[in-house]
């Protein structure tokens, strides 16, 4: 064994060792997948605070699973709630299950705010006080006293004007829930409906967690359905599970179909198992390494990255096939020297195109770039390092199919010296380009939506029933201290109320409405002191309350008037539970959010943006809008970076191929233009995912041109590139059948694009094609 071949073996073995180490490291970390749209939002050009607020809301949402149980027989529903809660609580995958409220908690909830009745007051009473209408407050208190329907607990001495009952009546506001015999009953529903809220102990994307929880629900559900109780749910977990389920189904149908197609073809052509296994080896190494490195760098792999990153398989198979086909006509000693320049150029062109995306400030694109570059390089290295060793003993065995396929190619007209064909191509290109020029792009958020519509409908109905406000539109208020945030909110709220009164806004949730600023609380106390000064004497006069009663009441006011509901005290209270997450930051600086509910139209959005522009420290955040804009930005960024990358590739190719460079670049270029034009007609506009697929088409197309040029358009090279086109068509083109919009767009583009590249390439061939046997 020569020294050179020994060092080659050493390199090959070290390479596999490196791959194993990286994979083991990634596996130890545990495979995590992410399908949250939020994860694709760019971090760097967003304020960290906005990011923080968004993430906090998303985090809370993602770990929450809400179950609604409804049925005609109330007792059965109540029993069902108990038994379902019991089985869910028993799971280690849940950190809490909220379904019943203890008597003590109710008592606490009802009385915890009582000491603060003078500093935290009902907005109606505050408005009357501000306009000096104290008499009306007294009249209402009198009515309340005589009414058969007294609302809530109050004491004639400690709270003669019923400040506390008025407050607690209006504090209901959060969700459409009521405590009915210790259980959480949804109000305003046709059938008796009860709620359970589960907080997950782990990541909703973890498959084990998904199956444990959903299995537990499903086990109970069939039993419950028999007793007439239906279960509806809302939560990220469901979407994550549905996404995983759909991916599984499609992999096992579309994926299996394409895999079988590829295996059968390879066996028919090579009539051996070995080439098939050899072909899959670098692809597998590429995918594993790419997934492992991406996971190590980013912590988790986004499903979108996976979908597109997997596209590199199509490109990486090029290298293997090129080697294997060429090996049939070249000896073991010569092959690498012969094809290495082509392989290197092929790798370079694809890596540059993918790497360019890493420069864009988008986490999604960065992930995809890392995934693709690592995957391609790993496959390439595996081919170059291992294939010479693995095929060392194989003899030269030209393939009969190569000649047949070459014959097919030769029947194609050549573009050189064929003015009719040139004109035809030119006209097609011009028509395609002009239709592209006039086309609209499509950046709809629904493109990213992978959940089945039934699930989305269920989600919406649960949210509507409970009156949950959207977490995607909100006002972010930031200041140095929480007190300043609250004061700012208090200034904003009259403007929001005006919008609400005009019917533009269906509602809002602001923490300052339950936790007023210290300044506001002091104001309130002053107002209530005036109320006592003016109205207590006439009020007690009517009721013939004794003088000692009067002084008791004044004493009670004096004792309570110094009390303030501080944020610290408030945080400890039961009532703050559902409001706490509106405070997103409270340390060296503070931030709160005002959540807006209902669908906001353009008019109200304009107004909210105007508020956000004029008020310092107030910004209007609209995730839906942001995501649509984000998709547009991704789209234009990809076009920019990839175009620049291909200009670089063009320069490199120009250096090597001089005037012949058009033979390499024209087929993928023309194919791309025509594909886009066809997509515009078929799919109402170009979106991000069409472009992602086009990079794959360009990659395979350029490889095709480069390999053909490097071997003088040999018949076995033509076979290799045809096979790689064919396998990619099977592997990705079939995704056009997928129900997931993202995958469908991707697949359709690959299908049309690669077919066109393959048809266009022979038109650009040299005259002297054929095998050069060495």
């Amino acid at each position: 064994m020569s020294k050179r071949s020994f060092s080659l073996q050493l390199a090959a073995i070290s390479w596999l060792l490196l791959v194993s180490v990286v994979t083991v490291l990634a596996l130890r970390q545990g495979p995590l997948f992410d399908s949250s749209i939020m994860a694709l939002l760019p971090k760097s050009d967003r304020q960290p605070l906005v990011q923080n607020a968004t993430e906090q809301m998303a985090e809370r949402f993602s770990k929450r699973l809400i179950l609604l149980l409804a049925g005609a027989n109330e007792e059965k529903v109540r029993t069902a709630v108990g038994s379902l809660a019991e089985s869910l609580t028993a799971l280690p995958e849940t950190s809490s299950v909220v379904w019943r409220v203890d008597d003590n908690e109710i008592a606490d909830y009802q009385t915890e705010l009582f000491p603060y009745r003078f500093s935290v007051i009902d907005t109606g009473i505050r408005k009357l006080s501000l306009s000096g209408d104290y008499k009306l407050i007294k009249d209402r208190a009198l009515l309340r006293l005589y009414s058969p329907l007294s609302v809530g607990k109050s004491s004639i001495i400690e709270d003669p004007f019923g400040l506390f009952p008025a407050l607690s009546l209006n504090r209901y506001g959060g969700l459409n829930l009521d405590v009915s015999q210790s259980l959480l009953k949804v109000t305003g529903t046709e059938l008796p409906t009860y709620m359970l809220m589960v907080t997950l102990a782990g990541d909703p994307f973890s498959p084990q967690l998904q199956s444990k929880i959903l299995d537990a629900v499903a086990a109970k559900e069939s039993q419950l359905n028999q007793s007439g109780v239906t279960v509806s749910m809302s939560g990220m977990l469901l979407h994550a599970a549905a996404g995983a389920q759909q991916a599984k189904t499609e992999i096992s149908t579309i994926g299996l179909g394409s895999l079988l197609g590829i295996i059968i073809t390879m066996l028919l052509i090579f009539r051996q198992f070995k080439p098939l296994i050899l072909m899959l080896f670098p692809v597998a190494i590429g995918c594993i390494t790419a997934a492992a490195v991406t996971m190590l760098i980013f912590g988790r792999v986004h499903l979108v990255t996976f979908a597109f990153g997997a596209g590199l398989v199509g490109v990486s198979i090029d290298y293997a096939l090129h080697f294997l086909c060429e090996r049939r006509v070249s000896s073991s000693g010569h092959i690498l020297r012969k094809i290495l320049p082509g392989l290197l150029l092929g790798l370079l062109s694809s890596v540059i195109a993918y790497a360019a995306q890493a420069l864009a400030p988008f986490p999604g694109l960065r992930q995809m770039a890392v995934f693709s570059v690592v995957g391609l390089s790993a496959s390439w290295l595996t081919v170059v390092l291992w294939f010479p060793l693995l095929t060392h003993r194989d003899s030269k065995q030209p393939l009969a199919v190569a000649d047949k396929l070459d014959g097919v190619r030769k029947r194609f007209p050549r573009i050189e010296g064929n003015p009719v064909l040139i004109m035809l191509l030119l006209i097609t290109t011009v028509v395609a380009a002009s239709s592209l020029w006039n086309s609209r792009s499509q950046d709809d958020i629904r493109l990213l939506q992978t959940s089945p519509t039934s699930l989305l409908a269920q989600e919406q109905s649960v949210q509507k029933t409970l009156g949950i406000s959207s977490s995607s539109q909100f006002l972010l208020i930031s200041a140095d201290t929480l007190e300043q945030c609250l004061q700012k909110e208090e200034l904003l709220i009259p403007r929001l109320e005006k919008l609400q009164a005009a019917g533009l806004l269906s509602g809002y949730q602001a923490v300052s409405s339950v936790l007023p600023s210290m300044r506001r609380q002091a104001e309130n106390v002053a107002l209530m002191q005036r109320l006592y000064d003016q109205q207590l004497t006439p009020f007690y006069g009517l009721l013939k309350v004794s003088a000692s009663g009067y002084s008791d009441a004044r004493l009670s006011l004096e004792r309570a008037e110094k009390l303030r509901l501080t944020p610290d005290v408030w945080q400890q209270q039961q009532g703050s539970e559902s409001w706490k997450d509106l405070i997103v930051k409270n340390d060296e600086s503070a931030a709160t959010v005002i959540r807006l509910s209902g669908a906001l139209d353009d008019e109200v959005r304009q107004k909210l943006m105007a508020i956000s522009d004029t008020e310092s420290g107030v910004s209007y955040i609209d995730q839906v809008q942001n995501i649509s804009e984000l998709m547009g930005t991704y789209r234009s960024q990809i076009i920019q970076w990839v175009m620049m990358a291909y200009l670089c590739v063009l320069l490199i190719l120009l250096l090597r191929y001089k005037t012949q460079v058009w033979r390499v670049v024209m087929p993928p270029l023309l194919a791309s233009v025509i594909t886009l034009a066809v997509l515009v007609q078929l799919e109402q506009g170009i979106n991000l995912f069409h472009l992602m697929a086009l990079i794959l088409v360009l990659g395979i197309g350029l490889d095709m041109g480069i390999f053909l040029m490097e071997t003088g358009e040999a018949a076995h090279t033509w076979l290799a590139v045809s096979l790689s086109t064919y396998t990619s068509l099977l592997a990705f083109g079939l995704l056009a059948l997928s129900d997931t919009p993202v995958l469908h767009h991707f697949g359709l583009t690959v299908l049309i694009g690669l077919a066109l590249v393959w048809l266009l390439a022979p038109l650009m061939r040299k005259d002297n094609s054929g095998d050069i046997h060495s």
Binding site: R140, L149, I156, N176, S180, Q181, L543, G549
Partner: protein, 192 residues
């Protein structure tokens, strides 16, 4: 809020048929069987509200009228004037022409529950009451007495006990609050 619910439950005019003759313990089912719900009912009421903190009672009186499925108007005439108007979707408190308090079904979920139970009780669905109370009492000729104890602890914290007395119709209602306050309502001049 519970308190409000219970009152509405109890204030619903319950017409009982006169064929109650035997002396026996009553059940909700029995009451359900013997009660009918009139299309409308009008009458006078007098109310005595005992406030433990003052050790004194507030007296008031007025008229009420009930239209099945539509509304209940509860009008206090003495010593102050006040009208409480309840429909399945709203509760409005009026003084003269001035609307003092309005609780909408849409914006106040408590009203939703309230009106739900409210109007079903008015069609003499005693079963609804059985969700909230345990019943004991006696039938004695054409007189009956009943005592309701809340089964729900959260209700119990506001109302400890309710006493009902009637013959062909409900005549008296005493509501004991956990704080020691007590509201007694007597009905007379009832006409269907």
């Amino acid at each position: 809020m519970r308190y409000l619910l219970i009152l509405i439950l109890l204030l619903s005019p319950i017409a009982l048929r006169a064929e109650i003759t035997s002396h026996a313990e009553v059940t909700f089912a029995q009451l359900e069987q013997i009660s009918t719900s009139p299309e409308s009912l009008d009458g006078r009421f007098s109310q005595e509200k005992y406030l433990a903190a003052l050790d004194a009672s507030l007296l008031s009186s007025g008229v009420f009228s009930y239209r099945r499925g539509e509304s209940i108007r509860w009008e206090t005439l003495e010593p102050i004037q006040n009208e409480l108007f309840m429909t399945p979707t709203t509760i409005v408190n009026r003084q003269g022409e001035q609307e003092l308090v309005r609780l909408e079904k849409d914006t106040n979920p408590a009203v939703t529950v309230l009106s739900e139970i409210f109007f079903s009780v008015l069609t003499a669905e005693w079963a609804k009451l059985s969700v909230y109370f345990d019943l004991s009492g006696q039938l004695d000729g054409d007189q009956w007495r009943a005592e309701l104890i809340p089964v729900d602890h959260s209700v119990m914290q506001v109302v400890s006990r309710v006493e009902l007395r009637g013959d062909t119709l409900l005549r008296e209602l005493i509501l004991h609050e956990s704080g020691g306050d007590r509201t007694t309502i007597r009905f007379d001049s009832l006409s269907q």
